[in-house]
Point group: D2
Chain length 338, copies 4
């Protein structure tokens, strides 16, 4: 936002804007740039000229302030605003339904749990029962796994879709899975309640278009180093393509090593929740990367304003094919919602 | 940690370590490096040789696991550990007293509040009364202000020390202030209950030594991009110099722009609290940089395990000389501890 | 790498390893963990026991040291190494051919130039002529453009492929273009000499597999916050899928704001070039984001060891549909190779 | 910079600014905010009203463009500029003299070499001779060493000052050393030709004031995660306090692991050199952290526009008390200036 003000009152305007909670930088015409007629005129001389204006650029990470309070500051002449680059996100329905479960800022928090990878019909059935018993509302499970190493286990693939869907149905849990290739969208969309875009592909416009076109709600993880605006723009791409809603999921960003695998950005969570009133979740498992702090990080997300928590769960971590060190036992889920 | 294991059982050991919550990387002797006699021997041939061992390097950000569980894994031959670079922190008293107020993991959280800068005797007296009324336990106030710009307001200086001390005394609140120069340590230590090292000077060994030598408890903010180990080492420097205790305070690190001024690292908080059982605090004001998300970030810190919260408070932000856009009204403090 | 050494000589071994250029961390068995028989024995008592060994973990970012020099340090008992996660990259041909132009560490540098987007047959023909005249060896041009905003210009699409190919043919320049969707690989591979993976999709395993399967050389940009290992693993994925070679292209990573759009990591360039002897390039246009420092950054890349430079070029930047502010005039290319 | 333009010509102005190399964001009054009289008027109706203006915020990392070119764009009404926060740096003499050696953008590059730590009179004498022989122009050596660990070697201290000064005198080399405590400034300033502020203390205003007050030229290293503006502001603090000149020295910032200890930001170097025409240097030793890429990184700095290179040198690295793995043999210096 740019606030245009009378030059003669710029110091008072600056103080007032700061008092409202705005970080400002003042830009003024330098004397040599006054038009000759401006230079000859004092502030009293008729209609204001350009030389009698200053511009305050307001940092986009300032406190949100109601517009009329800014307009009411004496000396403010005009407010200029940039067009929002994500109008569909701005207008999106604030409550998103996934198979009958509602996600929304202020609603009771939703617990999404399940294994990193769906490994067999028995495993997903057993884990669905366990997470349901522990209080989970939605079942997650990886069918296609994006991995750092191309030699890592890449998931069972399409055949695991039916196992996941069947376990969800049996235990009364809507299901969600990540799609990593455009070619797989159709098969996945046919059986799951929500699709997931992972952190590794949040910047992939082609995949966002394909997944959005399925018309389902999408859980959108934030990329490793994405800014808030890039994340919102990925949500915009999903909505432009037809997604019925977007759940923003923070899973940790790259920061200085603080003892966890990633840095859980609860500030971004708080801004999306409290300022944008969007449905936002945390994935404390990938943020922590270590099971001994998954519960505290999940609770920190809840305190910051999330409407849901995604947790990797495994009952036999020594046999898990991926991400075992960060998986929680199903029973531990209960501590999250205490 | 390095876990030495029998080569013939390395796959089983790797699975077991993963099941315990450890991220491992396996290092093995390559065939060409076996001593000739090793190459000739099978595992049954007498005492183990070097060629029959592998080493697992355990990521320092793995889940904390009791040592006997690792020793109990069949095939594990030995555990090698690095000497802790911060033995004094490891042995530090877990409860730190500041003027009669106790900080410790698991104790009721302490609220430290007050203005960014002490501006006048009246201002600090008025704010001390207000934060006390709102539930604060300790009074903070900047006497010397480190600023990004050398032209910014640098604080009132030494004369403000007495104002701060007097306000604390009058309202029954221990006081804390930041010291930015070695030359000021003595004057500050004479009147305050705890000294503060700011984020900008956490890496300054000379200042750490001078402040530690005062023998007081020290609130140690984490530098903008410090790793957990660097932060702990700064604590070690304080204790080596004589500090009576260290309160670690997370105030946000540099990360991808998430809509707040800094990225509050609740993961580091959770590790210090739950794994190291150290007294750790958050400063949600500097992390947020915007007053509309200070309360959610403070609560996120509490959920992650802090034993205290530091909040910048001002009752006339439009007149504040520094950091007004992030200052909370005293009454808003109450929401923090709900 | 882990260097196993005799405990009694560990201080001397540590000094020697440091002298060779290695950063070490020493892990030793703690006394309580010696087996009873070990505790009773001195170093002279027969075959070495575990309690008489220490492990040095060598930082992977240490200087590369020939193995026999480490083995020659008195007191070193064994060297354990981790399996390379990217054996195909390690064994890859060090010279990569793109339509008759050779890329390789130590070979004369190759200049790849052309517009951000192919906008019309005339535009690409005109620019091909201009960059050829200015010394370029390969023609680049965007057909499908990945953009931060889904409302930004997304490229002309498939029809521009023929324009690009035709301009390349006419002016005797091999051509390269980025592919952003699996569905487009076949069409692109049919007409270009090399395919490109952009920074936004470097982490997309599905796209890497599809592009690799075309059997062409691939220019692989580094993702915004990718580590060196993640970048090499993306190259491994391409080679596993069938790519005929990989050109690693550094285009700037996220770092503290240094006045350019991204932080050009010449350290990663130097390591890939001088230590791994791989073909590595820089894209100074995206790193700089501002045309006034594109040439110095291109030269910095050359000094660090690249075998090629990729530059966005436009002759009418005011009319360009994307990235105009960082595009160089074709004539300016000449300054790069002075 | 903010460019105020006529609303009716905003699209053309935006294109023209982009063509000049500027990244813009357009801020416009929204319809509801037009004053009633504005809404009734067309552009032809007398003096322009606020509703007929738009503001373009120009990214500070855009290409530098001469002001008259922007003013010449049809439709531009006014240019508003922020006051520079570092006027003394802007006006600083562009050539800085250190004991008779001149540093300046465009001048022949200066080589500063010597050991990480001054360890004995013999060591510094021997190394001074060796680096002089290899082409160095200035001698560096650490007297007080800031270390990550408080248990690391902290330097010999004040007695080493005389050894350094004497070696410099004997071999005809000006000398430079880092000061880490305010209390040491006077002793150091009495014998050295330039003082150094290290990366760990760049944010310490008190130390900047004390060092600047000595009236000497100061080599100012950039902090681990400092922005370009924070670095320039530290220079401003030095000049405000009385420093006779500032040499900006880039030594690597924190970024994603690229195989080196830090990420050498040649973009910041290029901007300071080519756009600000300030004297800027690189320290490839700390950036690399590994001796096998020190020379390529030093050359990359030279290509980016530095006027000097600082290199840690040691002739017996196995005996060095600090930073041995990144120290270069004196003879290797010659490769830098080839």
């Amino acid at each position: 936002m740019i606030v245009v003000a009378e030059r003669s009152r710029s110091a008072a305007v600056e103080r007032a804007l700061r008092g409202l909670g705005l970080w400002t930088r003042c830009y003024a015409p330098s004397p040599r740039h006054l038009a000759p007629e401006d230079a000859a005129l004092g502030p009293e001389a008729g209609a204001p000229r350009e030389g009698e204006r200053v511009s305050f650029h307001i940092s986009p990470s300032s406190t949100h302030v109601a517009r009329h309070l800014i307009e009411g500051v004496p000396g403010v002449v005009a407010i200029h605003e940039a067009e929002s680059p994500h109008p569909l996100v701005d207008q999106m329905q604030r409550v998103v339904d996934v198979g009958g479960v509602s996600f929304g800022f202020g609603l009771p928090p939703v617990l999404i749990a399940g294994p990193c990878s769906v490994e067999s019909p028995e495993q997903i059935d057993r884990l669905a029962a366990a997470v349901k018993e522990a209080g989970a509302h939605v079942l997650r499970g990886g069918v296609w796994k994006p991995r750092t190493s191309p030699r890592g286990f890449q998931g069972v693939g399409e055949s695991a879709l039916a196992w996941l869907a069947s376990a969800g149905k049996k235990h009364g849990l809507p299901v969600i899975t990540e799609v990593v290739a455009e070619a797989d969208v159709e098969a996945a969309a046919a059986v799951v309640d929500a699709l997931q875009i992972g952190a590794r592909t949040m910047h992939s416009g082609a995949l966002l278009r394909a997944v959005g076109a399925a018309g389902k709600p999408v859980l959108l993880k934030r990329a490793f180093a994405a800014t808030l605006e890039e994340w919102l723009l990925a949500g915009e791409a999903l909505l432009m393509a037809g997604a019925s809603g977007v759940l923003f999921c923070e899973r940790g960003v790259r920061g200085p090593d603080g003892g966890t695998r990633n840095t859980l950005d609860v500030g971004a969570v708080a801004v999306l929740a409290h300022v944008h009133t969007l449905p936002v979740l945390v994935d404390p498992s990938h943020a922590a990367g270590r099971r001994d702090v998954v519960v505290p990080l999940g609770r920190a997300g809840l305190a910051a304003g999330v409407c849901g928590v995604v947790v990797e769960t495994h009952d036999r971590p020594e046999a898990a094919l991926s991400d075992a060190p960060q998986a929680l036992a199903p029973a531990a889920l209960r501590q999250l919602l205490l």
